[in-house]
Symmetry: C2
Subunit: 220 residues, 2 copies
């Protein structure tokens, strides 16, 4: 699409200029000129100079929403993992662009703040789905919020390690991290029926407590 | 202290003017004038018009740091809970000022972004202590980051409910939320020695599996 290619050109021009002249000294006019378009065209694509740093933010939110919206009841943990992975894979595929963004957000406080505000939007989106899934039980709002925070934190942890060159296997790291997060928040009673054994630690002799365990099991 | 009282006067003047004229229409000069001081005095206390909204942010970070720094090895969960509670109690004691801030950060995007950036600072502070405590094992950096995210998320969850008038017992809510967070991240083998019973669900008859449990217990 012609529109997309202008957009891509604007992003590339912006990053080139940020690199050459610094973020503050770069103007929207300068970006538009480098991309071979005008100021009006720039503002048709991006609301501000800051917005060009995060060109795919809205599209990624929409992708997450789409993935979570089709999650089947039995595979919501998988859906959450895959939705977050969409974002990770997007940044991995950007390569140098993602690294250039990381340098910018690390050095320009206003961009760092904007990035963080974007992270909060991801977190809210996950939270709203999780809350709907978890239902009306007491404590559910908190639980959904904690899990959403963990999903986004795990994603950013792995992405940051990759951006810093600390890992060469970000997808595997991410899968491991998400397995831990999903397990931590899994419902404690996934299967009904059968025998349930309560976790218990005791310094008493095993044979002394077995009868009590047997009794407890028969009562559940 | 004379300095503190000028500072408090500046904060009160700022909130009054934000309420009367709106945030954007209020100037640093106007705040200083209302407080009976000059522009220079304002800037001796606050770096910007935004900073006057969060006058105690640095002091609260310092309080958290002090509390975590004296945590005894056996009571780190308590220390984390108490450190986060210092922040909650501070906002509860502010009363109307905290509610006025909430109205402002909900309606002025730049202030909301700044607040979020402040939340990230809390999160980093908790993370750095947790990471130091948890040591060098693999996965520890992620675990510390997840727990820090949960501590701050639980705190904000309860504070927000209180600011919205959804709870009249924020301290109890907070204690409950933190008990859950601390338990979730507690080491899985807190006590050594004695018998350990693994959680297990099975559709087999209790008496069929008891011998196997006995055997398993004796081997731990």
């Amino acid at each position: 699409m012609a529109g997309e290619s202008t957009r891509d050109r604007l992003v590339r021009a912006a990053y080139e200029l940020f690199d050459e002249k610094g973020y503050d000294a770069t103007t929207v006019e300068g970006i538009a000129e480098r991309a071979g378009t005008g100021r009006t065209t720039f503002f048709r694509h991006f609301g501000s100079k800051e917005a060009v740093i995060f060109p795919d933010h809205e599209a990624l939110l929409a992708q997450i929403r789409s993935r979570l919206a089709v999650a089947s009841r039995d595979a919501r943990g998988v859906a959450v993992t895959e939705a977050a992975k969409l974002v990770l894979l997007h940044y991995l595929s950007e390569g140098d662009l993602a690294r250039a963004r990381y340098r910018l957000t690390s050095s320009v406080p206003a961009l760092r703040d904007r990035e963080i505000a974007g992270i909060v939007q991801y977190q809210r989106l996950f939270r709203s789905f999780l809350q709907e899934w978890l239902g009306d039980e007491p404590g559910v709002a908190l639980r959904a919020e904690l899990m959403a925070a963990c999903v986004v934190t795990a994603h950013n942890h792995v992405l940051r390690a990759w951006l810093r060159g600390q890992t060469k296997r970000p997808v595997e790291d991410f899968d491991e991290a998400m397995t831990e997060v999903v397990a931590q928040f899994a419902p404690r009673r996934e299967q009904e029926g059968g025998s349930a054994i309560v976790v218990l630690r005791s310094s008493r002799n095993v044979d002394d407590i077995l009868p009590a365990i047997r009794q407890a099991l028969l009562q559940t």
